[in-house]
């Protein structure tokens, strides 16, 4: 499947990052790989907007950062989700589902005269 480079809205990027990090602590590069992997290559995060998003989430207190060693023994900054972050993740997931249902309803209305 061709990777569709979707220009993700800021809100949805936050949601994806939180979900990814909830699965386990990870550094920035790993997060972008994971998102790519899990979405089966459909989502490719623009790397230039990943890091500002990470820093923003960190400032908000939804993820916490810690320097550690990567798989190949390099210093890397690892992010893990916080308790507040978990709560925010629930809220965002609920909102996303509601949004999806609403859009689905709009799309499924039949055209007049059809």
């Amino acid at each position: 499947m061709n990777p569709i480079k979707t220009d993700l809205l800021q809100g949805t990027l936050d949601l994806l990052i939180l979900k990814t990090v909830a699965l386990g602590p990870q550094h920035g590069y790993g997060i972008s790989l994971r998102i790519q992997q899990i979405s089966r290559e459909a989502l490719q995060v623009r790397q230039g907007s990943l890091y500002p998003a990470l820093h923003r989430l960190e400032r908000r207190g939804w993820i916490a950062a810690e320097w550690g060693d990567s798989e190949n023994n390099r210093r890397a900054k690892f992010y893990k989700i916080t308790r507040a972050g978990r709560r925010q993740l629930e809220v965002e997931e609920t909102n996303w589902e509601r949004l999806a249902i609403a859009i689905g309803q709009v799309l499924s209305t039949v055209e007049p005269g059809a």
Binding site: H27, Y29, Q47, G48, Y51, P52, R59, R75, K77
Partner: protein, 881 residues
């Protein structure tokens, strides 16, 4: 500073984090088979803007703000230092605008916003009597009569304390301490100073011990007299001084900020008031009171009205037509200065706006020149908000530098104009650069910086970055900014026109005022005050009418002898005297009168005349024309003859038969004092030139307070010789207030002259700034369109056509601005109100003349750019890009 350390550390971390990412990506590509170099390039490309990402990460942390601000500041300073020409013009422009605004605000804050220096001034009220039929020009309200004051003081319930002071200041000769000096006294009830919460610098208030029999009469010194005459010595308390030959004990000294009665040098208790304290006739007691907590002014008003009604029933003859008014106590000079100061504040805000508009134009031009640099910085990763912030910091920096120069200008302005300010505006001199004024200046600088910098900053980041790097002609990018500049210039012209028209109106008003004939010739006349000490009230109250007349004759004879001696001095034409000089700034000597044979109106409805006591040749000395009858002779000293003025004669004897008729100026006293009219003289401006005409009654006899000396050369040169002659007859007589009639006239018009002067200065400033704006915009437009002009000339346009094109644009802008300005002026000039004298707010001469003047000046401003356009060499223009 700690912030900066953290900044360095988080910078390193951010760098490391992103580097890690890129390296991981690179390695992944190498594993996939790419060459190392190519893998790294591909990884970087996939990442997108590395610097941009860093920038955006940094933006997430507002604590970086301080470090960014500091670097913005340094950058801004460097840029300003590089473009010295631009910086100089911008700083000068802002200095004018900010300096003018700060200076006027300083005066406003010291005159209008200063709280009264009394304890809890908010619940202090002023109680006055009002005339229900306004037959007197100049003052609608007067003080209470002593009888009412003492009566009501005990009966009020809504007021916690009631005190009074007299508006009739008596004068005394202070002797026995070097040169004799004339001092003015005011009278205070014993609780006045305690009610106002005045803290004595030395000594104490009047007390019951001062009113005991045999106690020396007590006085309280004003701060000014204490400093000037007693050297500021705290030991003055307890000293006995000689006033009019009698001894008085100094019991206290007032603080420096106490100026309830500005001219009062000393204060005495009302027990020494030289009049009948039970009288309900003369309204001499200005009454101040304190509201009880929770009581409003309206409630106090109701109570006073009830008391007044009671007094009306008890004393119908004296109280008819008098009402009572209670109002918040205010600084009197604040009321009179409010309108001119508000107008000036409006004008300097216009000046500031015009200055800011000039800065906007300057910045727009400069940003156009720096377009490529801005685009480059954006490409290298600076975010839009960061660029805007940088530019705003720079313009705020400009504003503060301009502000510092502006404060210096304001300070210099105070020194110069302080000389010209009239003495009533003494509080103007106290205005300075301190406290609130500095805070205001700070706020103005900040706002000016933002107003000037906002639009150019936002515009500079709006442009499409790509197009800048292509070799594109400049005109397309600047087309929009030309429109903005045009709009700015039109507004500047409109904003400058309104103050100019106002200044024109004020100038015409002043001219009309100066054309008013005061009724006498002012040139070459010297006046000086030399008053005989008053006999104590205890003596004069026991004198019969005949004794009084004899005393008056004796004093008049002495005066004429002294006057004759002065007249013998070289250069003197005529000498005489008067009890109150014309062009007085306040009411001094007036009384109600009735006319024999005409129906008797009620006390409050009786007309008021200004009474003056004059020397024999007063009318000749002042060159006041005699219209009917004759002037005074020595025989009039033993009779009660009077000379009246033309307005009074015409009003009451329209058939012209005033001579021989009698008037009674003591109509409210038990015994009448009839005087026969022996002459009618021309009207004289007893108060300001713009005051309504008064009724004047002149008497002869007594020693008039002021000498009037007409010379044929410089009057000031005779001052010391005349003083010597006066001292020959009485060496203890203090001679003071030596000034010429011309100076007196200048002082009386100063309250109109000074605001007009200031307004004109600021209006001219606005005009100059607006014309600089016109010049700048036209110049810039010409330089931007050099190629276009070259093309036109190459295609056959002559120099004249180019000139017409440039001037045409200038004319369009100017006319649009003038139209807008005229509309604004129509709406606004009515606010000038009382400042105008016999000039309509929509005076056609001014509304026509000022725009014509403006067009001429704007034409000059457009001339230089127009010539530049004419001189464009088509070949050179087409070659450049």
């Amino acid at each position: 500073m700690r912030d900066l350390f953290h900044v360095k550390q988080s910078e390193r971390e951010l760098d490391a984090e992103l580097r890690f990412h890129v390296e991981q990506q690179t390695e992944a590509k190498i594993r996939a088979g790419m060459a190392p170099e190519e893998a790294r390039r591909a990884a970087l490309r996939e990442f997108g803007g590395l610097q941009l990402a860093k920038e955006e990460c940094r933006d997430e942390y507002p604590s970086q703000f301080l470090a960014q601000f500091w670097s913005d500041l340094c950058f801004g300073l460097r840029m300003l230092a590089k473009n010295r020409g631009f910086t100089a013009v911008a700083v000068l422009t802002l200095a004018l605008g900010i300096g003018a605004t700060t200076a006027i605000f300083s005066v406003v804050s010291s005159v209008l916003l200063r709280p009264l220096p009394y304890a809890n001034a908010a619940n202090l009220v002023l109680i006055q009597n009002t005339y229900s039929s306004a037959t007197v020009a100049n003052f609608p309200k007067v003080g209470l009569s002593p009888g009412d004051f003492f009566d009501w003081r005990g009966r009020v319930r809504e007021l916690s304390d009631v005190a009074a002071y007299s508006t009739v200041s008596a004068g005394f000769n202070l002797t026995g301490m070097g040169d004799p000096q004339r001092v003015n006294a005011a009278y205070a009830s014993s609780n006045l100073f305690s009610l106002l919460g005045v803290r004595f610098i030395a000594g104490r208030n009047f007390g019951p011990e001062d009113e005991q029999a045999g106690a020396a009469r007590a006085i309280i010194l004003s701060h000014r007299l204490w400093q000037s005459r007693f050297g500021g010595d705290p030991g003055s308390v307890g000293r006995i001084v000689d006033l009019d030959g009698a001894g008085y004990l100094i019991t206290g000294v007032l603080p420096a900020d106490f100026s309830l009665v500005r001219g009062a040098d000393i204060w005495m208790g009302v027990s020494q008031f030289q009049d009948n304290l039970t009288s309900r006739v003369h309204h001499d007691f200005t009454t101040v009171a304190r509201l009880k907590p929770g009581v409003t002014v309206a409630q106090a008003q109701q109570e006073m009205e009830a008391l007044n009604q009671q007094a009306l029933r008890d004393f119908p003859d004296t109280h008819k037509n008098f009402g009572v008014a209670v109002e918040q106590l205010q600084d009197p000079s604040a009321k009179s200065m409010r309108t001119p100061l508000m107008v000036l504040m409006g004008v300097v805000s216009f000046v500031l706006l015009i200055a800011c508009a000039n800065i906007v134009n300057l910045l727009l031009a400069r940003n156009a020149a720096r377009r490529r640099e801005t685009a480059l910085r954006a490409a290298l990763g600076a975010s839009r908000s960061r660029l805007v912030r940088q530019q705003l910091t720079e313009s705020i920096l400009l504003a503060f530098i301009g502000g510092i120069f502006g404060l210096a200008l304001a300070w210099a302005g105070f020194q110069i104009l302080g000389q010209l300010a009239p003495p009533e505006l003494a509080s103007v001199k106290e205005a300075g650069i301190h406290g609130w004024v500095l805070a205001f200046a700070f706020a103005v600088c900040f706002l000016s910086g933002i107003i000037s910098g906002a639009v150019p900053a936002f515009r500079s980041v709006k442009t499409d970055l790509n197009s800048i790097f292509k070799k594109e002609s400049k005109s397309s990018a600047s087309g929009n900014s030309q429109r903005l500049q045009g709009v700015l210039v039109v507004s500047q012209i409109a904003l400058a026109l309104i103050p100019l028209i106002s200044a024109g109106l004020l100038m015409r008003s002043f001219r009309r005022l100066m054309n008013v004939d005061p009724g006498f010739r002012t040139g070459h006349v010297l006046t000086m005050e030399a008053t005989q000490p008053n006999l104590p009230f205890a003596v004069t109250s026991k004198m019969s009418a005949a004794q009084f007349l004899e005393l008056s004759r004796h004093q008049a004879s002495e005066f004429e002898q002294t006057a004759a001696r002065i007249q013998c001095l070289p250069g003197v034409v005529r000498v005489s005297g008067v009890s109150v000089l014309p062009l007085a700034s306040e009411l001094r000597s007036a009384s109600r009168f009735v006319i024999e044979g005409q129906p008797l109106p009620d006390a409050g409805a009786r007309p008021v005349a200004q009474t003056r006591s004059v020397g024999l040749s007063y009318f000749a000395a002042m060159q006041i024309p005699l219209i009917q009858g004759r002037v005074f002779e020595q025989t009039d000293w033993t009779q009660t003859n009077a000379v009246i003025n033309e307005s009074m004669a015409r009003r009451f004897w329209p058939k012209g038969d005033a001579l021989g008729k009698r008037v009674n100026v003591c109509s409210l006293d038990p015994q009448p004092c009839w005087s026969s009219i022996i002459g009618v003289v021309g009207d004289v401006s007893q108060f300001n030139l713009d005051a309504a005409p008064t009724f004047d009654i002149y008497y002869s006899g007594g020693w008039p307070r002021y000498f009037v000396i007409r010379t044929d050369s410089d009057p000031a040169a005779l001052a010391s010789a005349a003083t010597a002659e006066i001292h020959k007859s009485d060496s203890m007589l203090p001679v003071a207030q030596i000034e010429t009639l011309d100076e007196l006239l200048a002082a009386s018009v100063a309250p109109r002259h000074f605001p007009m002067l200031l307004l004109t200065i600021f209006a001219v400033m606005a005009l100059l700034l607006a014309c600089v704006g016109v010049y700048g915009v036209m110049n810039y437009a010409v330089s931007q369109r050099t190629r276009e002009i070259g093309v036109r000339m190459a295609l056959g346009a002559r120099q004249r056509d180019v000139l017409r094109m440039v001037l045409g644009r200038g004319a369009r802008l100017t006319l649009a601005g003038i139209a807008l300005g005229l509309a604004g002026a129509f709406a606004v000039t009515r606010l000038l109100g009382s400042l105008l004298y016999q000039v309509r707010p929509t005076d056609p001469v001014t509304f026509l003349g000022v725009p014509i003047l403006f067009v001429l000046v704007a034409l000059v401003a457009c001339w230089i750019p127009a010539r530049r356009a004419m001189r464009v060499d088509p070949m050179a223009a087409l070659r450049t890009d």
